[in-house]
Symmetry: C2
Subunit: 614 residues, 2 copies
């Protein structure tokens, strides 16, 4: 299995096109502005550091690199001279500031200079990872190799210091990211030393971490940084969710590349653990605030959910790799779940504000006067209101780079078939099976489940269409066979047109009853979209409303949200004057639901996804 790369694929409209426009017009510029305002961009000017005007944080380089990567993807589908010039200017500064040795870190080149490669938690290799990803992205889009050569030089130094001379003070970085970045560099350059180095970092994880390394996380144990066991022995998703996913992305890359069965088993187990026990209905991961990480199995609280936007994004990236290993729809189902929910909620509808933490329920009345975290707020997200800026700025550029790279989530192929993984209006042309294969898809998904796919030159091969997990009934115009969630259609002619209709209607979704917070409650989904109620749409206290178990609803398309909005029948508990009573009365009500990704775009108001059922 391998993906059909973004460079061969074009998104031609539909739901995500609005976001691609938002990405190039608003999001990328909103992040650029914050990078400037916070001093990140200025830190590339050494004089400003020397004069004391700016003191960069150890991880700031990563934010700039991620912006370059995100901007690069935009250039693929939209010419923008401002963006291109800004990238070139930044690349010039990255290169100009690089040490003769190849070393680069805006902090350690000016502060604690004797501590380069001495502090495991210093984010140096994390920054390099993002620089590599940015350089590869920009090279692929523009053909310019200046940044690429710069990061290769740095990566070569890292190879020498860590792998050959072993003169660094640690063996594996505190914050993962470089593992899969090195794999990208290897794939682009063909230079095996990057692959070796990546595997070295993976296999030396947990070999040296001490409890003392983690005391600053409030006493949490070595799981925080996936240091509790050698990676090859890890079977459950633990600790900081983004770090974990970045690690397993690299593990999956290498497992696929080398056929390493041990590493593959790690990935399989981690995926199952997340999928069955540690993933929210929104595709969000990370239940614990304090470690920004995975909780114990089935611990998925709504109000105190952490669900960092970056964690959702990294889960998508991990699942993509799994989907490139196995022809199974489940990975793409998860990607779809994340994209339309836990990922998309990370940005406001106007593209200018971002969530770092994404809660699944909000009681506004109780929280505005409550200045601490009793109710799920963190320093990053003090109220359920998206922010223009946070001190840790990882999420916005991460969101933008995924938004600009959605093309590569749509199609994949193996020796026998072309796979349609996501339903997005698009086309691709690529040499496959020795022929020039062309596929075109049109759809209004997720407004409805009608899909039309035309494939050329696929004779003798198969077209495999993912049957979405949420879909109970579907019709497909061609006969086919279902396997592992894909519907395989054998192609006889030079051109085939397939229409599919995935029945898409609102339905109740229950969590596994072991999810203690939601046992007995249900959410409403329609297709891949998770719905929520906001106080602003519902006159009554939404927390005293229940949804009828004889589920009925009305559906209406909303231009504002670009998906359907729903009205479902329910009951509300009649108000009482007394604090306690021996019975309650219910009266009929209608509950208006909007897509979860669109919550908190109008005013600060209550929000809930899960309702009691009556």
């Amino acid at each position: 299995m391998s993906k059909i790369e973004a460079k061969y694929t074009n998104i031609t409209g539909g739901f995500w096109d609005r976001y691609r426009k938002l990405n190039r017009e608003k999001i990328i510029y909103a992040i650029k502005k914050v990078n400037e305002e916070t001093g990140r961009r200025g830190a590339l000017d050494i004089e400003k550091i020397k004069s004391g005007e700016i003191t960069p944080h150890k991880y700031w380089d990563s934010d700039l690199a991620k912006w370059i990567e995100a901007a690069s993807y935009i250039l693929k589908y939209h010419k923008d001279e401002i963006l291109e010039k800004e990238i070139d200017d930044m690349v010039d500064l990255f290169c100009k500031n690089q040490d003769e040795s190849g070393y680069f870190n805006s902090y350690f080149q000016h502060f604690e200079t004797d501590m380069q490669f001495k502090k495991r938690r210093s984010h140096e290799l994390y920054c390099l990872g993002h620089m590599i990803e940015a350089a590869v992205a920009y090279y692929e889009v523009s053909g310019k190799d200046k940044f690429l050569n710069m990061v290769k030089k740095y990566a070569d130094l890292v190879y020498k210091v860590f792998y050959v001379e072993k003169s660094a003070a640690f063996k594996a970085p505190g914050h993962e990211e470089i593992e899969q970045a090195l794999y990208k560099l290897y794939k682009l350059t063909g230079d095996k030393k990057y692959l070796e180095l990546s595997l070295y970092f993976i296999d030396h994880r947990a070999s040296e971490a001490t409890e003392a390394d983690y005391m600053w996380y409030g006493g949490v144990n070595l799981k925080y940084g996936q240091d509790h066991l050698p990676v090859r022995e890890q079977r459950t998703a633990e600790g900081h969710s983004v770090r974990a996913m970045y690690l397993y992305m690299g593990v999956a890359d290498i497992a696929k590349e080398t056929g390493d069965k041990e590493l593959l088993e790690v990935c399989d187990s981690i995926f199952k653990d997340i999928y069955n026990k540690k993933m929210y209905i929104t595709g969000g991961i990370g239940a614990y605030n304090h470690v920004e990480g995975f909780g114990t199995p089935y611990f998925l609280p709504n109000r105190t959910a952490y669900c960092e936007t970056c964690a959702a994004i990294s889960l998508v990236m991990f699942c993509q790799r799994m989907g490139n290993i196995y022809p199974k729809s489940i990975y793409h189902d998860v990607i779809e779940r994340v994209l339309y929910n836990g990922f998309l909620t990370g940005v406001s509808l106007d593209g200018e504000r971002f969530f770092y933490q994404n809660v699944l329920e909000w009681d506004s009345e109780a929280c505005y006067s409550n200045p601490t975290m009793d109710d799920g707020r963190t320093p990053q997200t003090p109220v359920p209101e998206r922010q223009k800026e946070f001190s840790v700025l990882c999420c916005p550029a991460n969101l933008s780079r995924l938004m600009g790279r959605l093309e590569e989530y749509i199609y994949s192929a193996n020796e026998e078939a072309v796979f349609v993984n996501q339903y997005i209006p698009s086309n691709f042309e690529k040499e496959l099976f020795g022929k020039k294969i062309a596929v075109e898809m049109t759809t209004s998904f997720p407004k409805n489940g009608e899909i039309k796919i035309t494939a050329k030159n696929l004779k003798g091969k198969k077209l495999a269409i993912r049957i979405p997990q949420w879909c109970k009934n579907y019709t497909i115009s061609e006969k086919g066979e279902l396997q592992d969630g894909f519907y395989y259609i054998s192609v006889d002619g030079d051109e085939i047109t397939v229409t599919a209709n995935f029945e898409m209607k609102p339905s109740l979704v229950f969590c596994n009853p072991k999810v203690r917070e939601n046992a007995g409650k249900a959410a409403v989904m329609m297709g891949p979209v998770v719905y929520c109620a906001e106080g602003i749409d519902n006159e009554e206290n939404i927390f005293s409303q229940l949804i009828d178990k004889d589920f009925s609803y009305e559906v209406e398309f909303s231009d504002y949200y670009n998906v359907n909005v729903l009205t479902v029948n329910g009951k509300k508990i009649k108000e009482t004057e007394t604090p306690f009573s021996n019975s309650v009365e219910y009266e009929k009500t209608k509950i208006k639901l909007i897509p979860y990704f669109g919550f908190a775009n109008r005013e600060l108001t209550d929000m809930r996804i899960f309702f009691n059922i009556i």
Copy 2:
């Protein structure tokens, strides 16, 4: 209205007698031991302070004073030479260490000596308040006035410094307590300056506090210490719950004493605000962890409930004062609710361990690996397991002193009637209406609701029996009239015997639906006792269980808990393998319930009070 004081009343058996025994045999000694082990007791030895062996905290004197008060009450009903000698020894040291001026504080006499009465948040007057209460208590029980004279001398100094010379650096103390203590001292001595000083502190509250005073509480506003408005303008319960209740105890005392209508309105409003909007079903108060205080209206989360034991105790004390102003049963209903639930849960069944925080729900599986406060734990109560000791040791001695003083919650009287407020086997003899009134009550309450009361010499007056709020049907052997929750029986003869049967059966109790956390859920109560399910008694995951709305149950008396335990019919959600599903199946189950006060006495296990109803 006035209470029939503890000195005239005897508890003669029943439910609370077991706790009085536990109090004198275990609790008071457990606290004594911790006072010794933590250095509190040793701090009365000046040499240990001077040598640096012990550095007392500014509030340690209050812990010792509360222990003296608690021990004094025990001496009323149980001769104990060890306790009496220990009190005398401590009193000797308190007196010996008192400055010539009258000043006493184990910290400020040795550290920051120039800061006496200079730091508003230093707890000096809080400590004096508890010393006064202890001295009054010991004098009343023993007739010994050494401690009383010592605290009078100190109170006189405070009067001079704060009221006459106004030379202290602040006008009203940061932590309330002294207000009602001064009232006690006034009532005992008849010296009006103590009343004046108490009113002065009340009326100068909020006159000088600045935001800066409160920055150390994480930016919370002036409500923390009831400094947001002049007391006379306060109408809602805000901020630190114990501080608030201690304040309003004093306000109620003075309102009753002086007939001050403004202060009375403050108390009325505060009570209503708590009763209607800020009190848990257990009688616990304080929804916010971070300020140990009141949340916004109807914010009463279960898992993150703070519900400090001291807050429950101080609510009892406040309600007692309100009950001494108005002949209304509601105050005694609240006292009963607190005593059998939010108060009693503060101590283990073996009397050796204590809760500081009292949560209303616990998900053990999720929490043991979660080292911070996501799930409601605080530094005082890291897991739902009672502790022998905490750094802030206010609750255990507070619990003990209320346990030893329950007599005074049973009866009260006004010009027209003797009131029976609590159902506890007891008797009293006291001169009232110019006659020697004797009342005797027998009951197995709260095992059942059968009460027998005999009153002598009450001819021409009334016997007023509280109809418990939880009771829907009752029979009383004599005719009477119901008013404000009291059943008034006019007494014709020299002796009257009244039997009452308050029907007591398990029932579902719903919160006001504005309590967002519990809308649609119900708890089970039987009489005044709130029930909970513990995992250890219920094989299945208790969080996937629901109680049948056609409520049915079995009742069995438990010697272990000394009340009934219940089995109620319900449903459990069938386990599934998938993380999400479009329907759930239920199967019948029986849910075993124990009294909430008895939870966490066996092993660390899940606990819940509120269940979804099906």
